[in-house]
Amino acid sequence: MTRSWTDLDDFQNFIDGGGIVEAVDDMPDDYRAEVFRFIEFHANSELMGGLTERDWIPRAPGVRLKQIFLAKTQDEIGHAHLLYQVAADMGFKDRTQMLEELFDGRSRFHNVFHYQAVTWADQIAIAYLVDAAAFASQRAVFAECTYGPYKRVLKRIISEEGFHMRHGEEMLLRLTEGTETQREMFQAALDRWWWPAVHLFGPDSDPNDPLLRWKIKSQPNEQLRHAYIQKYVPLLQSYGFRIPDDNLHYDDTFDGGKGAWLTSDIDWEPLKATMRQGGPDSRRRISNAAANYADTAWVREALQRTGAAA
C-alpha cells in the first residue's frame, strides 16, 4: 500500500507521531534525496572499511586473527551490499553508478578511511576506537531512523559491530599486557587515530539539519561526540595511555557541576580535506579500491553468465 502526504507539514506530523516511511511510499522529494545521500555515504564507508580490513588479513599475526579479519571483511562488504541495495532502490543511482563515482573520487565516505594504518597497532586502534565511534553513531541513527528499509539493515549492522567491538577490546587488552615496545606501538597509533575518531562524529549539527527534523539522526553530532569523549578518555587513561591533546582537562563545573572531559578547540580542517578526497591516504585508498573493482570484473561477469544472482 502506497501512502502519500499532502505537504511537508503533513509529512512532519507523520514523522513526529513515530511514523516509519517504507520504500513503496510516495515520500517527499527532499526526504528521499537526503536519506539517499546519507545511505550512499554509509554504503561507501562500509565498502572502503571492508577493503582496509582485507589489506590486513595477510599481516594479521596468527591464524585466529586472520580468521577474524576475514570475517570482519565479509561483514563490511556484506553491509555495503545491503546498503547499496537500499540506496539504489530510492531511484537516484544504480549500484554500478554509485561504485563508479566512488572509485572515480567523486563520492564521499567516512574520514577515517582517508588515513593510512602504519602498524598492526593501528589496526587495533581502529578496531577499538574507530569502530566504537562508528558504532555509537550508527546506534544513534538506529534509535529513531524513520526510513524502514534502512532501519532493518541497521539492526543487523549494529548487532555485528557490537561483536567487532569485543574483538577490538580483546586485541587491545592483549597488547596492553605485552612488552613496553608493544605499548609504545599502541601509543603511537593512538596519537595518529584519536583525532580522526573524534572527527568522525562531524562538526556541530546545524539546528535546522533536515536529517534531525526527519529523525534519521536522533541526536546532534556534538552530543554524540561529547558522550564518546567522556567514555574513551578515562578508559584509555586507565590502560595507561596518553590522549594526544595538551589541553585536555576535566572540568568539575561543566553542566551545572556534573563535570566533563573537555578537549582543545577542534580543528576541522583535516575532516574537510577528507571530504574533498584530500586526506593523507585518500588517493592511494581510492585507487586501490578502483583496482580491486577492475580485478574482480570477471567474477561479476561469470555470475551474470551462469544466471546466478550477482
Binding site: A71, Q85, D89, G162, H167, A309
Partner: protein, 158 residues
C-alpha cells in the same frame, strides 16, 4: 530413586539452563540452544562435557561462544570442570532452528529461513516474491535476497 540421582539431575538441569542462557553474539536475544548449536550436555563426577555444533566451521564467533558457555556453566558452581568441543558432525542445518526463534529472527533481524520446498517468504510483508540476490551475505551463515513487493533486502540463514 536415591538422593544422589536427584542431585545429579538438578546439576544437569542447572548446567543445561546455563548453556541455554548463552546468546549468539550476532543475534542478541537468541539463545544458542534455540539456534540448534547445542548437541549434548552431560555431567559426570561434577564435570560438564558440552558438545556444540558450529553453523559454519570458519565462523569467527566460535571462541566467544565457547568462552561464554564456559563462564555461564562455571558460574552455576554446580560443576568443577567444563569441557567444550565443537563437533564436525552432525552438520548444522537451518532445520535445527526452533520455530519460535524463527519468528523472532524474522521480526527482529529481517533474517529468514528457506521453507522445506526451498521457497522464501518475505519476513517484512509476507509476500512470496522474494528473490536471491547474492550467495554471500555479511556472514558465512547468511545469503542475501530481496523482496520485490515491499522492496526490502532480506537475509537468509543457510
Amino acid at each position: 530413586m536415591n538422593s544422589r540421582t536427584l542431585t545429579d539431575r538438578a546439576t544437569l538441569e542447572a548446567v543445561q539452563f546455563a548453556v541455554a542462557s548463552v546468546h549468539d553474539p550476532e543475534y542478541p536475544g537468541v539463545s544458542i540452544a534455540e539456534l540448534g548449536l547445542v548437541e549434548t550436555v552431560r555431567v559426570e563426577d561434577s564435570e560438564a562435557t558440552i558438545d556444540l555444533i558450529p553453523t559454519y566451521g570458519g565462523c569467527p564467533a566460535l571462541d566467544f561462544i565457547a568462552r561464554d558457555v564456559r563462564n555461564a556453566v562455571m558460574a552455576t558452581q554446580a560443576v568443577t570442570a567444563c569441557t567444550i568441543t565443537w563437533l564436525r558432525a552432525p552438520i548444522w542445518t537451518p532445520d535445527r532452528v526452533t520455530g519460535d526463534v524463527r519468528r523472532f529472527l524474522e521480526s527482529e533481524f529481517t533474517v529468514t529461513l528457506r521453507r522445506s520446498d526451498g521457497s522464501l517468504v518475505c519476513p517484512v510483508c509476507g509476500s512470496g516474491t522474494v528473490r536471491d540476490t547474492a550467495p554471500m551475505g555479511p556472514s558465512r551463515c547468511r545469503s542475501l535476497a530481496y523482496c520485490d513487493d515491499c522492496r526490502n533486502p532480506v537475509e537468509v540463514m543457510r
